[in-house]
Symmetry: C2
Subunit: 293 residues, 2 copies
């Protein structure tokens, strides 16, 4: 009994809905799958040229460094500072010399490592594909993580747009006054060697398109090449009228699981051969401005 023979195969194929693209899956995610980021976790960097960069801090992974950054922002530490390093396929770095200027009250001068944290307490959703740098990769609390179930530690990952704390040689971990953002292929060798403290949510193009520095490590040769920073504030300290607000897709939601699966198996439109895999930095946690209303 093969009743379906009455229906031509091509009609069956035509009737099958086209696989959704990752973008379509994100667009269709219900409101309940989105998490609004607290305003005190958003750092707004206004360049003197008028461009704006918005960074989400990661206090669940680097609480002392995040607290330092909040205090530095409240003390207007970065107002009048500059971007002074742009290294192609690597990082953009900005800030002010932590050892030359007195630190504001409350800032911890020698923060603990915060390069990794216990897996315990983290609701990790495994990526499900191999990672070249760690036993496992996945997502937790809206962030990409690499982790070692045996060792019991997890770390934030140096993906494109992720923000780390500049430091000198070990065991110094950096105060948080000099920060960098990744503008190239994920430099995962920095994982667990530097405190990752957040990610750029908006405006990364104002950093990634800057002229590359010509000195070693991409430092600008002349101070006249530096890109001036007008001010840096927590969103909670920005006037309500121009306060940014962002949401991320809950990494425990069904929509996010669908999104990762679609990123690993592109079948839409253009694609001929789904990869059947994806790396954790190539399935970036979706973010969006908080919808009005």
């Amino acid at each position: 009994m093969r009743p379906l023979l009455l229906i031509p195969t091509f009609a069956l194929l035509a009737a099958a809905p086209a696989p959704k693209t990752p973008t379509e899956i994100v667009a269709a995610a219900p409101a309940a799958a989105w998490r609004t980021i607290p305003a005190e976790d958003l750092l707004v960097m206004q360049l003197k040229g008028g461009q704006r960069v918005v960074i989400q801090l990661a206090p669940d992974f680097a609480p002392v460094h995040a607290a330092n950054i909040r205090l530095l922002s409240k003390a207007k530490w970065w107002d009048g500072s500059a971007i002074y390093r742009v290294q192609d396929n690597y990082v953009v770095q900005w800030g002010k010399n932590e050892s030359a200027d007195p630190l504001p009250a409350g800032v911890v001068a020698k923060p603990p490592e915060e390069y990794a944290r216990p897996v315990k307490g983290l609701p990790i959703h495994p990526l499900g594909y191999a990672d070249a740098y760690a036993p496992k990769a996945g997502y937790a609390l809206g962030w990409p993580v690499a982790y070692d179930p045996a060792g019991g530690t997890a770390n934030l990952v140096h993906c494109y747009g992720y923000v780390g704390v500049g430091r000198d040689m070990a065991p110094d971990t950096g105060v948080g006054g000099e920060l960098y953002a990744v503008i190239g292929h994920a430099p995962r060798h920095l994982d667990r060697n530097i405190a990752v403290v957040g990610r750029v949510l908006a405006g990364i193009e104002h950093l990634s398109s800057l002229p590359r520095g010509t000195e070693a490590l991409g430092f600008y040769k002349e101070r006249t090449s530096d890109v001036p920073v007008a001010w840096v504030r927590l969103a909670s300290d920005v006037d309500a009228g121009e306060r940014p607000s962002f949401q991320y897709l809950d990494t425990g939601s069904a929509s996010f699981a669908d999104f990762v699966r679609a990123r690993a198996n592109r079948k839409d439109d253009f694609f001929i051969r789904p990869a059947g895999g994806v790396d954790v930095c190539n399935a970036a946690v979706p973010v969006r401005p908080t919808p009005a209303g």
Copy 2:
């Protein structure tokens, strides 16, 4: 019997040579480990602003597309063309509409796929670490490859700076008249879906630092935003006095094996915890201008 107790531990440590950095290993590689790239495999793109980009073609992986590109260059196809798309963390794209302009004689209008090639005949040196996109990753003939030993195919990898052939929907594979270079995290989902035809050896910063396009997919909105290309030539057709020449480190050499090992296990200077792994795009095949003499 513990004779070494006579020697203080710190002295032993001080006597141990510091591990070489990847850069030091490359600098110490013998001349015999370097391979000079034939001038007919080098494509020179001169922007109207004076910046120069040098691309190495990959005829071992995409012979028909590489032959097309050589013919297009000899026919001055790209002279007066433009860069018209810059998408952040993705690609810069340039060229001329393949369907609007008549193709020069000899150019194959419908090239075969060339998205992968047989493993057979490729001297592959395995990376030795997991790959999220393919059963194996490694290097062959100076290029990063992903491969499937069971299926018997290997493909060039979409790493930072790698150049692919723009195409329309399948089964079109593109002529080679519209090219793109990767300027972000390796978009490995494009592997085996597009012909990778080479890589940028020099001048990638002239592409990666361009203003991002504001239209969908990073296209420039206004034609006045386009970045004009003065000319494109094979190095073999450039005047001897300004002809570029480059070498790559033989991916079968002991120096290259040491380099990959060091990239996967950074112990020098700054590093506290070696990753114990690396992805194939984060251990990029070293290239250099051919030394004088």
